[in-house]
């Protein structure tokens, strides 16, 4: 399993060849609280780095999820429709949002590794 990369908007990416799995971080799910609804992009949709790609709703509010990389959505996590709480329970595993085919691997350089992201989150406190 490859290591995770992180965006400043609190998405994570796990790269396998030219496919990236995307979700929200443990910090993000803690900040949101109980997730009650996730709206995912359609398979086949082209998403752009740092542009809105999904919606995650807690009891209190709706939040945008941004695409950490550009590419075509090739799979979505249908489990979240009936059990959005998976995002709280396992944000970086079963709680993934969608997979995309990476358009430009150079964009990976703009993401943080785990140590940098941990430091970034600590700086937000």
């Amino acid at each position: 399993m490859s290591e995770l990369k992180f965006s400043k908007d609190h998405e994570w990416v796990r790269v396998d060849g030219d496919v990236a799995t995307v979700g929200i971080t443990d910090y993000a799910q803690t900040q949101l609280g109980d997730v009650v609804y996730v709206e995912l992009p359609a398979v086949g949709k082209q998403v752009e780095q740092d542009k809105e790609a999904a919606i995650v709703e807690s009891v209190k509010a709706a939040s945008e999820v941004y695409a950490p990389l550009s590419g075509e959505v090739i799979a979505i996590n249908n489990e979240l429709a009936d059990a959005p709480g998976i995002v709280n329970e396992a944000p970086t595993e079963d709680g993934w949002f969608f997979k995309l085919r990476i358009k430009d691997a150079k964009q990976l350089d703009s993401l943080m590794d785990e140590a940098a992201y941990t430091a970034y989150v600590e700086g937000l406190a």
């Binding site: 609280g33 919606i55 709703e57 009891v59 709706a62």
Partner: protein
């Protein structure tokens, strides 16, 4: 209330922090929005057991004097003169246009009237009362008192060992009682749709009382997040959202708060408009809305007909944990206010089907002996 005003803290602030609450500014107070278990668990616990809420930010006011009930009727459309000792009523401060300045609870405490008003309105409410009632009664604010709400099907059983007399109170009644030996004013009321109590206690005794109640395994602390989802499922209005000066009492579907004598005699602000709408109908009405599917529709979501014509707006909306799906309240043109009417909610630019629903979404389970 401006952003520059200093944040206030309730007498239970230290307890909230000790319990690991997430605190957020609300109506000028640092308030617990949730505890570590989270809003969903807190909501379900309140519906199945008992939840303890700190509502000390709300305003407590007493009116003293023989003329207090008649004087208060000049500001509210409820029958206060006819309110028997120990009985409580939900009512509204109305304005000259029939709009709503605040909603409040009034209890006949025997030798005085006891009022509970919203935190965000309490300064204005106090000024309003003093301006209009001071010549007939004494208006006293009670900032040195905390207010706890104990809500849920186990509320009565968990309160009984500490206040055996509380069992005799029916829904919407109240009395001065000792709870765990502390002098309190207890009403059988609340804002969750469940049986329960609101307990007014001296601020310096509040933490002791809260800890005593929380020592019962059936009672857990509940934050404002679950308070909001509980009251929304119960179809209860949140001031500043579902009701305000732009919504009349009749539009808000709160005609039931105007008792018979007041309908006949009026004499409250906005009576001409309110009683005319009561007789002839209002152009719009507050209704429940049940979105199809699972996407919540939030406050300010536009409501349209199936043809896309705008007929109103959501005023409270979110996820109903007990319902297990999205629920909302809002105002629609009266022509579309019948339960079962098909409408659309425009969420993130997309019209999504919804249906006008009867309120409450979750049946009330009040104690009516």
């Amino acid at each position: 209330m401006s952003a520059d005003d200093p944040l206030h803290f309730t007498p239970l602030d230290g307890l909230h922090r000790a319990l690991g609450a997430k605190l957020v500014p609300f109506a000028g107070y640092d308030m617990p929005v949730q505890y570590p278990t989270g809003i969903l668990a807190e909501h379900h616990w309140t519906r199945s057991h008992a939840g303890l809420f700190d509502v000390s930010h709300m305003g407590q006011i007493r009116l003293d004097g023989a003329g207090a009930a008649a004087a208060l009727e000049r500001l509210v459309p409820a029958d206060i003169v006819g309110l028997k000792p120990q009985r409580q009523r939900y009512t509204l401060f109305t304005d000259a246009q029939g709009g709503i300045l605040d909603d409040l609870m009034v209890t006949n405490a025997g030798d005085h009237l006891f009022l509970v008003v919203n935190a965000a309105c309490k300064t204005a409410d106090l000024a309003h009362l003093q301006a209009h009632l001071a010549q007939d009664c004494r208006v006293t604010t009670l900032p040195e008192r905390a207010l706890l709400a104990l809500q849920g099907p186990k509320a009565a059983a968990s309160l009984a060992p500490h206040a055996p007399e509380a069992a005799a109170l029916g829904f919407m009644s109240g009395a001065a009682l000792r709870v765990a030996g502390l002098p309190c004013f207890v009403t059988r009321s609340g804002y969750t749709g469940e049986d329960g109590f609101e307990i007014s206690v001296a601020a310096d005794a509040a933490e002791r009382l809260a800890r005593t109640l929380l020592a019962d395994a059936r009672v857990k602390p509940i934050g404002l997040g679950a308070r909001d989802s509980l009251r929304l499922e119960a179809g209860l209005c949140l001031y500043g959202h579902d009701i305000d000066t732009t919504t009349t009492v009749i539009e808000a579907d709160l005609a039931w708060t105007i008792q018979k004598r007041r309908r006949e005699t009026g004499g409250f602000p906005g009576a001409a408009i309110i009683l005319k709408q009561l007789a002839k109908g209002a152009p719009r009405k507050r209704v429940g809305l049940k979105p199809d599917g699972k996407a919540p529709a939030r406050e300010h979501t536009r409501i349209t007909t199936q043809d896309g014509a705008t007929i109103g707006e959501i005023t409270s909306g979110g996820f109903g944990p007990t319902v297990g799906g999205p629920v909302a309240m809002g105002y629609v043109a009266t022509s579309h206010a019948t339960p079962g009417s098909a409408v659309q909610l425009v969420v993130r630019g997309q019209p999504r089907p919804a249906v006008v629903a009867k309120l409450p979404f979750t049946p009330h389970r009040y104690h009516r002996p």
